[in-house]
Subunit: 672 residues, 2 copies
């Protein structure tokens, strides 16, 4: 990680807290809100803008409908929040909609939610970064030519930061998120006051007119639906909290629900406020600036984001507050992108628990696995950014399908959940009609929206989601089937008895080195019935030299030189074992080999292939166990440092691992 | 590998012989010639063509100089062959020029040769394939639009074939190579006869004229040198034999030298013949067909290759022999490309022996390593093809620098070799003045040509070689330094004694499965002083269930459940070991773990990460050896099949490995 990246990291993530401080960290509401809300809140930065954009396609007159669309969106936010309140209560384990669907609608439905969410994580990164860059450019238009480069750059930094391993620190999230909320509130209030005092803000784009041919009823209806669908992008991220319950301070559920309500209220008011100001200041935001009559050289100049235009209109273009607003917006959007990097491994581990994803995703701290996840996520987002040239409007078209798949399945699942309770005589008491009603409404509403979103966006790019989704689904289903097969293969029955006997040990000697001597030493300590050192003589002279050195070193264990006419290490050993078996009958043979422990990935390229290969070949041989005696090269120290680094998703799942005393063990063990 | 690829493979490489037949195969001359000569001979397919092309830049008049240039090239061939005859005799181990330079001029010089050769392997693939495609297109001009696609396609097929593992079978090489020699000889003889009988062949391009402004002396001189430099591409591949001596039948050296002489004679006569016919039939071949006045729509139509034009002129366009000639040419060129895929691992293993390349390259049968080599080679070649749009003329500009670096260093090395013998009183008798003279001439000649080639080609693309070469050199030098460091780190001295004691064994139990039971069984058989089964209770209920199952299964070894508050497998075990050490003092602990053996690469993704991680963590712990008890999943069978597949380069280094009786061992061991 270069120093630039590190400074960038400081800037994005803030100084990571030392592990001790995070020890067992569970999040108080004031910290949880920013961590889980940045995604949901940041989406008001593009939600209203997309709504305006779509309406404007039908001409400026259509903007009159904005309030109704906005109200519909806010209503939906309320419904989804209410529905999620039930989910949090019923399934506090952090599985969220996936778990609800999985438990109540069956694994197949659960997987649908899972694949939808996986896709949406990629889109969250792409959309948030694109919008973040868009707002940066609204502050510094001269950056417009580097839109794609900037977006890709940010994704790369985020990936680097998460590859290196950075715990989401509440503090780092709190500042930008609260700054964002504060500055938008100030914006709205100021604008409101100005309006009431008769000096309403006027957007720079108010002057532009738009020509469009009159639309038929149907077209208008469709356009309204599309506007609504795009506005719904403001709902993304609400699901985050129901996935993060375990990370809250006790009482977890209560705190999570309070945070959820707060989140709902805040994002509704921000959405309402921005829409209101947008209308008052007569913002005209078009799909393509060239549709705006009077927009000077529209090919080259970008449109200022809605937030940007409002900031300019209310605070005055270039005023300090204007820059604060846009900085906070950009920052919170980048944080939202970062949440995807934390959410992904979280979902992964839940999927792994259910056997739909590689078990390794469940193993905390298998850095390799997380790295792969981070890289896949980043590559996907970069691909989208490049394909769409970081065009927010195009990205939004693919977005939120996933979110609404997850919402509707989750709510439907809750409905089934209640029905089951109702039917179950023992639990009937728990049945809560009001909550049931909420989930029914939630299910119907979100399902309807899902249909609307799909219909209105399908041809505009959403079809991609419907191509990739099933592929992911099949992949995960296949994994589950594979694990099932293996489970059956290794399941023991009452008469599974091996009853091996005999105890012979062999030390493989390539050359007379400390690691080999250590391996030999361990073999001696294990006091096997019989022990011999064995060398495959690939080079006859080398073998002779080894024999001499063996004697010089005064080793009592006999060294057997095996001829290796085919320059192969393992085969002579295997043959030797076969001969032994012919004499002594079946016996368990422990083959001791030194194993190098090293710190750099590239050292693996330079080491140990031969012994790895020998190991593989021996693993195919009858009655052999391979005992690896570790030898730590100096570089091995690096491993420990890496050990102690946090992994993405830790904060959200409320599992901070204890710093391990490896170093002590390492050094004592180093030159034994 | 798809069936198309397989059929393509049949077509390129011919039906691979079953391993038994190849057992210990050493090559008789008649088989060695085609295997080692395809590269060298095929280069006469483009050598003369490039010579004509460069001369034509100076106008058709310049063609009059072709004979002199050709004679210079042939002379050089003779010199290089003579020089290599000495190398083969003095260094029969197959190290070739690299070894000569390494031994006599020092490792640094050796590495220069090595990096030069590595680069040339990539270029051999690119140039040969490009030229092969060029000749295919000469037969079927309608394929011209797909030039690049065809070339890339062939490289992919070659890579696939070599990844899968195909032994170069002499027979498969013999047919096309001899067919090529035969058809070119027939071409030359027929053309000769026609000329003598007054009915000289006339090339289709004879009619075209070329306009050029008169050149100054200097320019003419430079052009002649450039033509010579391009003609020298006919020398590539001669070094192959000195690298392949070990593969010859006894008397190896004698046979290798005879083959070398044959090779020299054949390629000289082919070069001479083609040049002669080219002049007689007045072939006009330009850098860009549009330079040829009268060449119809030159933007779209390709020029016919020189071989193609001669075939058309002598045999008649579209005549059976014409197609045979071009087919043989294309085929032998593709074989030449394939030789690079075999030469690379060979050089790699020599470099690895000297510690300049990953040791793994020395380990026969580490398929992974060869695969990487093959992939790198293929990617490099594809890159070149795409960058140059498979333009042979551009590729030739980068080519042969490497070859001549290797030639000149090799010859210079031989000179030093002789001088040393001369100085050494005991060996003075071996000194051979004639041979010495040959190498002196060889050194001077090749060095001069190297300078000429560099000067004339540098700006035309050769500079790339001078960029990449040093990088490779530094890389290999760095590797050597790293190995040196490690060697010093692990070198034992007389008082290296470990003297570990105590013998405790632990069986890690995740779940009660057959693999675990097998591991337990082995641990019991090894009769350790103390033995316990250990389970890290990540999930308390699961631990309870395990405890029950343990008793139900009637296992006598005590099962210890370790609490794991942080959902981590290894840490509790490590802590447990630490406690034990506190009580029992330092002791060697053998930790038994089952290890899954599987056949598909993707299974690795789904398995074993956790245990791998546990292994890594334990390897950092004091006094622990990890005993892996293999459990073979059904898919493990695939490994054996792969085992028995041959590896690239085997035939050339004369090391056929014996087919192993793994299957038997496997099955007996499978359900032990």
């Amino acid at each position: 990680m270069t120093s630039d990246e590190r400074s960038a990291k400081r800037w994005i993530i803030g100084k990571p807290l030392p592990t001790e401080q995070l020890e067992g960290e569970l999040l108080p509401k004031r910290v949880a809100l920013p961590i889980f809300a940045s995604d949901a809140l940041s989406s008001v930065a593009y939600g209203p803008q997309e709504m305006f954009l779509i309406l404007t396609i039908g001409g400026l007159a259509m903007l009159a409908n904005a309030p109704y669309v906005a109200i519909a969106v806010m209503l939906l936010i309320a419904i989804v929040v209410a529905g999620n309140l039930q989910t949090v209560k019923a399934y506090p384990s952090g599985g969220g909609d996936y778990e609800v669907a999985h438990r109540n609608l069956g694994p197949r439905a659960g997987l649908v939610v899972a694949s939808a969410l996986l896709i949406d994580y990629v889109l969250t990164v792409a959309v948030s970064v694109a919008s973040g860059v868009d707002n940066i450019i609204s502050a510094f238009p001269q950056l417009d030519p580097f839109r794609v480069e900037l977006a890709v750059g940010f994704i790369v930094v985020l990936a680097a930061v998460n590859l290196r391993g950075v715990r989401e620190s509440g503090r780092a999230f709190a500042i930008p998120t609260y700054l964002f909320i504060a500055s938008v509130v100030v914006l709205i209030v100021t604008g409101l006051v100005q309006t009431l005092t008769g000096d309403a803000p006027v957007a720079a784009s108010a002057q532009y007119s738009v020509e469009t041919d009159a639309l038929g009823q149907a077209a208008i209806m469709l356009l309204l639906l599309r506007a609504f669908a795009s506005g719904c992008s403001a709902l993304t991220g609400i699901e985050a909290i129901s996935n993060g319950v375990p990370a809250f301070r006790r009482p977890k559920v209560r705190n999570a629900r309070i945070t959820l309500v707060l989140l709902g209220v805040v994002s509704m008011s921000l959405f309402a406020g921005i829409t209101f100001l947008g209308l008052v200041s007569r913002i005209h935001y078009a799909e393509d600036p060239c549709d705006l009559n009077g927009f000077a050289n529209c090919e080259t100049t970008p449109q200022q984001s809605v937030i940007g235009q409002l900031g300019a209109a209310v605070f005055g273009d270039g005023s300090p507050l204007f820059y604060v607003l846009l900085a906070a917006t950009a920052l919170v959007l980048l944080l939202a992108a970062n949440t995807a990097f934390n959410g992904f491994p979280l979902l992964g581990s839940v999927l792994a628990d259910h056997g739909f994803a590689p078990k390794a995703l469940r193993t905390r701290g298998d850095r390799l696995v997380y790295s792969n996840g981070v890289i896949v996520l980043a590559l996907g987002a970069v691909l989208l950014i490049v394909l769409t040239q970081a065009n927010l409007n195009q990205l939004i078209q693919m977005y939120i399908i996933g979110v609404f798949v997850s919402f509707s399945f989750g709510q439907a699942g809750m409905v089934v959940h209640w029905l089951r309770i109702k039917r179950d005589p023992r639990r009937r008491g728990e049945f809560n009609p009001a909550a049931f009603a909420v989930n029914v409404v939630g299910a119907i509403a979100t399902a309807t929206v899902l249909v609307v979103v799909t219909v209105t966006k399908f041809t505009h790019g959403a079809y991609l989601v419907f191509l990739i989704g099933p592929v992911l689904w099949l992949l995960m289903w296949g994994i589950a089937r594979y694990y099932g097969r293996v489970r059956r293969e290794i399941e023991p029955d009452e008469h599974t008895v091996f009853g091996a006997q005999g105890d012979h040990a062999i030390v493989l000697v390539g050359d007379l080195t400390k690691p080999v001597l250590k391996a030999l030493d361990y073999a001696i300590a294990a006091k096997h019935d019989s022990l011999e050192a064995v060398h495959s003589a690939i080079d006859v002279d080398a073998a002779k030299r080894l024999k001499k050195a063996w004697i010089r070193q005064g080793i009592r264990v006999p060294l057997r030189i095996l001829p290796s006419p085919y320059r192969d290490v393992s085969q002579p050993v295997i043959d030797h074992l076969a001969e032994r078996r012919a004499e002594h009958g079946s016996e368990v043979v422990t083959v001791y080999m030194p194993k190098y422990v090293m710190g750099h990935w590239w050292e693996r390229v330079l080491h140990d292939h031969k012994s790895r290969r020998v190991r593989q070949r021996l693993a195919l041989t009858h009655g052999v166990a391979v005992a690896l005696v570790p030898w730590r090269l100096q570089s091995a120290r690096l491993l420990e440092e890496r050990e102690s680094r946090p992994l993405p998703g830790d904060a959200r799942r409320g599992t901070a691992r204890r710093p391990r005393p490896v170093t002590r063990q390492h050094h004592s063990g180093h030159r034994r």
